[in-house]
Symmetry: C2
Subunit: 426 residues, 2 copies
């Protein structure tokens, strides 16, 4: 089944150049983790994000790619193909990071796409179809929840104004931040949002670090990603009453922190899973007025719930609000679902191309689902889609200690280059 | 036992003037509560605090009081007495508020002192001793924890540089904010911090709203405060490890939010008190990185623990850290005590003067301890000290819905005026 390797193409992928670009990007928002690891905090639609985009555009233009942006600020860099009018192959990922994120999540998929396209150029290959490199807006949801806004809007999953009123931690609205960024990029040519003139992409392929421990633990080089588990995000608000911590008797309080404790304890029981497949996380808490001697008047906390089974996602997800209401004793309860992505399966056209490329390059490859969600899952309804994973050290991600080696990342870019060449020739 | 009322003095207290000044102060940092109530957010050492201080100084100077400030930015407005060289009677409270505070907590005690002194002036009374009106720095601890820094430093309870490194929610250090405020008040005359030339104040009396429900519930006008329950404040830090909410199995996480849940649940059991006298509050929580899809790496939460019994404060207070350590499963634990105020009893010289004034004015008065702590408790070791309470509607405080009526506040100021006249004549 293995196709012959295109040796010029594979050797044209530069491990050093890709790593050097990753490290240049990592300086834009560099932070230091608790263990001294060099991490990144680069929120979407921030000055750092704009710097990173300008740097990417400069690199793309130096190899003849032309930039465009759409109404969600998704950034595209296009390499023309041999035959005009054909649907493009799309590759890319995102450039925003978690607030205490690593140097590889997202940005590597963008730079691997750039490296693969540059290798095609240097190998003298111009495929039949155009190839477009895309950097999706706000995949992480770290500043504005939920994530994947750019790809969701592109795919028509949600109207582009869906999140205008979403606020970041400082009260800035997504719609305002987006308008500001679009104004500051007024010099970049615009393209329509989403599918242009009814022409869906020919295929979508996204390179990404695994963000889990499997590839490393099993001694594999490449993950052939078969699909993505489903995710549901909720925002819970509990409204009680503030009071003086020294005078108000505990029996008379409507303490939102204590009701949060009851709610999360009950949710832990609801989400109990001896198989350890279910993912349930409360990771963001905001208390008001958040003063040590004023009983909490209001608490907001988030729920991140994921499972590969649509049935489990539906059943336990629908039980979240009643579970909270039954547990809470004194507060008014509001539960808002902010994100709901069904589990998806990737297309054999892409997974088999990844498998062939890995085999041709004598890399060890494993078929596996993705625990994290990615922009790729919103592309599934549009065109044959898939992903390429490389190992993450100790499976650590969303953390400055996140790490994949230059050689591991170069192997991923070589597989991507061959997959793009094959898909864009098809 | 009742002394004759000084009728000129009592009638010189103006309900309207005092209320008007309170409402002028309430505009500096005005906020609106969840129920539409007009509240105040005026943090210490802020531009709003400086505006409020300038307004107070202007009112004081208009009746011949002279301002000075000390190294902790405590503000004094002095009325000279008939006999030079005598120790002053001190009265006052604080001007900072909780982040979502009311219009009366603290500021009324300062304006009641001003009203009482103005009434003395207008009644043509110059007592033997000077009277000093004081506005203590950072009583609330809402911006910089703990509270009562100004009075603690004045009383020699803590060295004045104790809190220099304490940070507010935005990372500003107390020492830096204090230096900035002192520089912006460079035109105000300085006085030494604390007792001047070994001469303690002759007495200290502080007017304050009750912040609890008793006076209203029992139909009383005046609280003759007999003492203050003890307080201990702790900061708890739990350090786990961040991870990706979609990929990290729950069994492998070191989730600081989940360990916080275990810690507070265990503390609730430790602090259980069927008599409902004990006050235990967790009201401030900070999660890092506080992103919905990154498992929490670190949580900090506060404990506010109060009780009238020193033995209970000691016994259960010392059990806090072992209780947390036993409950937490995955995180490193740090527990820091940030405030420890023993229960105090006020001096009969002051409580009896309050009782006499209330009786002379035919007000209904109740002897009662204070649930809230106040600057007055740090004055107890220095000089005969005491407090005057007025009713708080529904006992609500640390909340925009905090309310005492113009008439209730005027009654408190009339009692204070008579107490000051008596103490300053002694």
């Amino acid at each position: 089944m293995s196709e012959p390797v295109a040796p010029n193409l594979v050797t044209a992928v530069s491990e050093h150049r890709q790593w050097d670009r990753l490290m240049q990007m990592a300086r834009l928002g560099s932070i230091t983790g608790a263990d001294g690891s060099p991490g990144v905090n680069r929120p979407c639609l921030s000055p750092l994000d704009r710097q990173a985009r300008r740097l990417l555009i400069a690199w793309g233009e130096s190899i003849g790619l032309t930039p465009t942006i759409d109404a969600l600020n998704n950034l595209f860099l296009r390499m023309e193909g041999r035959e005009p009018g054909l649907a493009p192959v799309l590759t890319g990922s995102h450039m925003d990071s978690q607030p205490a994120g690593g140097r590889f999540d997202g940005i590597w998929g963008v730079l691997a796409g750039l490296e693969a396209i540059q290798a095609l150029r240097e190998a003298g290959i111009t495929p039949r179809r155009p190839i477009e490199l895309v950097a999706w807006t706000n995949e992480e949801g770290g500043r504005f929840a939920p994530g994947c806004m750019g790809s969701m809007a592109y795919a028509g999953h949600s109207p582009p104004d869906t999140w205008d009123a979403v606020e970041d931690g400082e009260g800035t609205r997504f719609g305002d931040a987006l308008r500001e960024q679009m104004a500051l990029e007024a010099d970049l040519p615009r393209r329509p949002l989403g599918i242009v003139e009814g022409q869906a992409p020919h295929a979508y392929v996204e390179a990404h670090i695994e963000q889990g421990p499997r590839l490393e633990a099993e001694g594999q080089d490449i993950g052939i990603v078969t699909g993505i588990q489903g995710s549901r995000w909720f925002l819970v608000e509990l409204r009680g009453e503030s009071a003086h911590a020294g005078t108000a008797p505990l029996s008379m309080r409507r303490d939102a922190v204590q009701d949060m404790l009851r709610a999360i304890t009950a949710l832990n029981a609801l989400m109990d899973d001896p198989t350890d497949i279910l993912r349930f996380t409360v990771a963001r808490i905001e208390v008001h007025p958040n003063s040590s001697n004023s009983v909490a008047e209001r608490v907001r906390f988030t729920i991140d719930f994921r499972h590969p089974s649509a049935a489990v996602l539906t059943e336990r997800g629908e039980a979240i609000e009643p579970t909270i209401r039954a547990a809470v004793q004194h507060c008014a309860v509001t539960v808002t679902e902010r994100f709901h992505a069904l589990p998806v399966e990737f297309a054999p056209e892409v997974t088999e191309a990844v498998a062939r490329a890995a085999a041709a390059q004598r890399l060890r490859a494993l078929r596996m689902p993705s625990g994290a969600f990615h922009d790729a899952q919103f592309m599934v309804p549009l065109c044959p889609s898939g992903m390429i994973f490389v190992p993450s050290r100790r499976g650590i991600s969303h953390n400055p200690a996140e790490y994949s080696s230059p050689a591991q990342l170069a192997a991923g870019a070589r597989v991507l280059a061959q997959v793009l060449a094959e898909l864009a020739e098809g």
